[in-house]
């Protein structure tokens, strides 16, 4: 498998003394489903945002598709962002616009300024949007306003907006943290489907260990801004969980046993 994303010695410093990430290294292969797990405040969100440069890392090297992300100029950065879809915990939709308009927003990165400002979309783009919404089971809601949807439906619109970009990779920042277990399962199933059938690489931040173990090809454990585990979910041990979650691990360990057993 070819390596799609490589993160080498990446550090991020906020202000003068808060270190969010220190010397993070890992790589992700084409088509892999990777979960980043860790306690809240461990730096998962910062790490994800460093990859598409929503946040600039302080030092290190990030290579995506054989391009060095760190020293891209503004124009090239926008170009590379069009190849990386992003999904957010709070969906980040434009609440007053319709589902299809929100979906089409994923195309804005490829448009000229004027077309973007006026919101001009071609017939193919619209057809593709409808197709994607159909795959995600949102046919009935195409013309509904985003704020009339439930949380799970909103997140599916978020996924549709990312998919219409035709991305090589999806970055998902806590995609199910605000959802009920049922909707969470639907979202995770969709993400796995996307990874398997479309060959899109998925990198997802999670704080639920059981979900991560169930869905991922690879687990990256982060604590205090450092990678403390990097490997297959099959080999993860109680001690690994303990290292990732520190003192919070007590009630999580029980779950691990359960998952491995099933």
């Amino acid at each position: 498998m070819t390596v799609l994303l490589e993160v080498n010695h990446v550090s991020k410093q906020f202000g003068s003394d808060t270190k969010a990430l220190s010397d993070v290294n890992f790589s992700v292969s084409e088509g892999e489903f990777v979960s980043i797990i860790g306690p809240s405040g461990a730096g998962k969100s910062t790490l994800l945002r460093c990859i598409n440069r929503m946040i600039d890392a302080t030092s290190g090297e990030i290579t995506f598709d054989n391009m060095n992300v760190m020293n891209l100029k503004k124009k090239d950065l926008k170009k590379i962002r069009t190849k990386i879809g992003m999904i957010f915990q709070h969906y980040n939709l434009v609440n007053r616009l319709s589902v299809i308009e929100n979906t089409l927003h994923g195309n804005l990165g490829k448009k000229s300024t004027l077309a973007g400002v006026l919101g001009l979309y071609s017939q193919e783009e619209k057809e593709q949007a409808v197709k994607i919404l159909h795959v995600l089971g949102l046919d009935e809601h195409i013309y509904k306003r985003a704020d009339q949807l439930s949380g799970g439906q909103k997140q599916r619109v978020g996924i549709a907006r990312a998919l219409i970009q035709n991305p090589r990779m999806l970055l998902c920042d806590e995609p199910i943290a605000s959802l009920d277990p049922n909707s969470a399962k639907i979202i995770m199933d969709h993400l796995r489907n996307i990874s398997r059938t479309m060959g899109i690489t998925v990198l997802v931040n999670l704080h639920q260990v059981d979900v991560a173990l169930k869905y991922s090809d690879k687990i990256i454990g982060v604590n205090h801004g450092q990678v403390v585990y990097n490997g297959s979910p099959k080999n993860i041990t109680k001690e690994d969980i303990q290292r990732i979650y520190g003192s919070e691990a007590e009630d999580l360990i029980f779950d691990v046993g359960g998952i491995h057993a099933s």
């Binding site: 319709s98 299809i100 308009e101 089409l104 006026l118 919101g119 979309y121 017939q123 306003r145």
Partner: protein, 287 residues
Amino acid sequence: MEANEQLTSAKQLLDPHLQKKIRIKTLTKSSVVIRSTLIILALLTVYAFFSFDYKQLDVGEAALSTFANLKAMFLEPHLEHFTFTHALYQVFVTLGLAFLTTLFGAIIAVFLGLLAAENLTNKRVSTVIKGFVAFIRAVPTVLWVLIFAVAAGLGSVAAVIGMTFHSVSYLVKAYSESFEELDKGVIEALQASGANWWQIIFHAVIPSSLTYLISWTFLRFEINFAVAIAMGAAAGAGGIGFDMFMASSFYLDIREIGAITYFVLAIAILLEMAAIRFKKKLKVNGQ
């Protein structure tokens, strides 16, 4: 965007081979109202510029001389007809007018606000008070002051009473809305324990909406400071506004207006900063 959509849909009517077109804009009541509001406002604005009474004014020249005036005002301010201490004292007079007005207004508004809150009285009382208050608010403050001035003479009495009218109407609206946002359960719980109306008011309603009441009142104080300046200028209420009016209309001294403007700006910005800080503190305490 819209025109373009229509264009393509017209094209499709002509060409039956084209596939069905996917529209992306939906016409909801909200978007229709938004669009028509904007169009009406734009048309009225254009019409307004044609209908203005320009009085043979050379707009370009007037704009240039305004720039020159503003430059003189802000870069070469001086006090000639008033001393610095006099101006400072007058600023405090204006602050005093604003304070008295806000205080009287707040006291009256709390009672009327309680009666105007639908969840504390009944719909009929609430509608009557809200209507009465809307009527008071519709009359500009300066007219209230001038109307009272006929009976009380020009001066601080007419100014305070006239301005209080407006403060009352503003605060009743704000207070009653804060009361109405109150959690129904709190009132219910006290009712269940057999508390009477006044007990509910003093032990549940006022304590739980106190932060809102205070921040609205402070906001009104800020507004009243500006209103007091205007009343000093337009209705002889005294204070720094009257000095500004004298500098403008009698001494025709643009630099003196500049100096007074600096005084006013300093106080107004201080009040705004205090209000922002105050709000933040209340928010933290409230959580």
